[in-house]
Symmetry: C2
Subunit: 443 residues, 2 copies
Amino acid sequence: MSEEPVTRPVPARRRDTRLDAYAHNYAERTFGMTASAIRALFAVANRPEVVSLAGGMPNISDLPLDVVSSTLSDLVAERGTQAMQYGAGQGEPMIREQICEVMRLEAIQAHPDDVTVSVGSQQGLDLLTRIFCDPGDVVLCEAPSYVGALGVFRAYQCQVSHVAMDEHGLVPEALTEALAAHAAAGRRVKFLYTIPNFHNPAGVTQTLERRERIIEIAQAAGLLVVEDNPYGLLGFDGDPTPAIRSLDADNVVYLGSFSKTFAPGFRIGWVLAPHAVREKLVLAQESATLCPPVFSQFAISAYLSRHDWRGQIKQFREMYRERRDAMLAGLQTHMPAGTTWTRPTGGFFVWVRLPEGLDAQAMLPRAVSARVAYVPGNSFYADGLGSRHMRLSYCFPTPERIIEGTRRLGEVMAHEASLHETFGFLGSGAAGGPYEAPGANQS
Amino acid sequence: MSEEPVTRPVPARRRDTRLDAYAHNYAERTFGMTASAIRALFAVANRPEVVSLAGGMPNISDLPLDVVSSTLSDLVAERGTQAMQYGAGQGEPMIREQICEVMRLEAIQAHPDDVTVSVGSQQGLDLLTRIFCDPGDVVLCEAPSYVGALGVFRAYQCQVSHVAMDEHGLVPEALTEALAAHAAAGRRVKFLYTIPNFHNPAGVTQTLERRERIIEIAQAAGLLVVEDNPYGLLGFDGDPTPAIRSLDADNVVYLGSFSKTFAPGFRIGWVLAPHAVREKLVLAQESATLCPPVFSQFAISAYLSRHDWRGQIKQFREMYRERRDAMLAGLQTHMPAGTTWTRPTGGFFVWVRLPEGLDAQAMLPRAVSARVAYVPGNSFYADGLGSRHMRLSYCFPTPERIIEGTRRLGEVMAHEASLHETFGFLGSGAAGGPYEAPGANQS
């Protein structure tokens, strides 16, 4: 197999025998666009016999379909010509007010006028990067970081600079060092991108003290902080930690989403930004889409108005907690010696560090043959590191399937480990490296 | 009043007294982003006492809301967990098949695998420009051209080069000349952007012969043609003209939309592209949004399956034809001598050339005072020309309101013309210029 099997573009169909007539016409940024590991994986991982611990799809089977059905039926009958018409580039006023209500659960005080609706929070990050980043600009990210964010930064030709994490998330001293290093080299850092809650993929959460320290450092350096928080309301232990944005309204841009607390198919997220930034975001949104999906906004707004959405989120939390417990129990039972992993207190993901000598990317085809899938850790680094790690997600399969998945995975790993003992290192690339598994707990 | 009243950004709220802390941090492309004339206009033009001939909103009041309501209700009840989940970056297979069926009405033979779904065709153009254009690259556009396309090209820092039109649309000889001039100057032309049917804003349509000539020129020059066709099925006289894409599958990228044939609020358009280009588009879409709105795709797909959508489009055509007739009659009655305009055979827009000495941009505030709104012609040029023209749209107001709007407009123009006779030129900028009104008919 090739050194990088999962990042290759899907091959062209056989019927296309001619070369790409436009191969020499693409923009420079296009050469950095490659199919993500997660995308290539979906094709195999979606086969029913495979337990996929790879995807980040929420389990929405508990949603009250009868409520949604009657809500949409009434919406079309009563306000159909508004809901199906063009809307404001910034998003509809009503849902921007409700978004402020949602954010209050994480101690954020915000004005609806500072909210811009986006096509999922992914597009919020795309627009934000569009308005801030020229090619070569530096963006700071945790090590590891969200694969979709790394894709956006690559598309805008940014230089990603990873900052170390531990069991409490981003390490403040590492942030200070990174800022000093870039300043010394005369490089401009455009923003810090951070996922404070139930990190994707690392599964760790910043303490409040650490958030305060990070924002102090950012203020001193004039650094914009981009807080990406799709999972914040899906914590298993008590109230949410106050958002970084709740500590500083001027230096933080907050990205939110309905994809995990309601449903991703409507593609509605948002950006809360200081007013001047918000103005630019709206112009960028108008240029990109004219307006975000109006019907989706009306649909979510009506759902929030008519349904006990707080109760629904509570139910989601219970469901995901049960799955997290299943995964931790399965790992405890089935992982070979030398494996470590994080213990998330919310969200969807566990970050696993393999025993010495094992390589998650090289092992993936063998895991899929054994009917279990995951995402190799190097997908979450801009610099090729991380292949001794893997991300396991517990959000979508049932608890029974999760445990079965960890069992299959344990067998594959034990087999790999025995091969390693006999024949030495099996990896395809750089394993380990300076960024260790944050807050790994010995199994 | 200022020289460019309608392109100013909306002023910041009073409570924001501090300066923009990030003013020096934005990307270079962001400095080119300014509020569009149409956006600023909406605030005033939406007041009920104003007859707005400015907006391009389709009139969707004839849609069968009962059918849509029950379709969506059933969709959620039967396939809700699919329709509300994440989907494919390229778009859902079922709607891509139906899109091919829609395109067959314009003689396009296409494979669903070559279709990428976008957030309205606006986002299709955004993604296409993203994959093709580096800063400084040349894009050829008709003179005038769609304001939203010019905004995209500006956001990607392209250099727009206008090509003359006449009553049959883009002039082939002018295209040849433009290509030669850019080649001689060593500038790379990335593509030609053209709206062949019922042009926005010019209201003219390319004949089949002219389409053939344009594609010959493009083939000889290795030029990619981007065919933007939101209005193609809304013609008033017989069958649609075959699309440029129907003449050449390899050198044309086609942009389509459900915004005018169904409803814009779902934000679903598409790009039909040669396979290699499609691959890049999907990667760009994944980076921009993960996937286009899944629920919207299921909703439109279900509507197309359950409703006589061809009959619905026929009904839309009748409704818009009646409005076009009202506008042409109103112009005939109320325009002062020296005014000329195009006679669209479909779509939404009439392009009006003012009598000598009048300036559409300078006149706009006086028109709004007289309770009628339009879009000044310079919005449709990248180079500041066009202020002797204005775009009038007949899509949204009732026929009675359209006639009343032309009456009010005629009064304002007559008053301006008499002032001009007394005091001389009243304009704010360059009136006229090399790009005359295409195919103008004397009133």
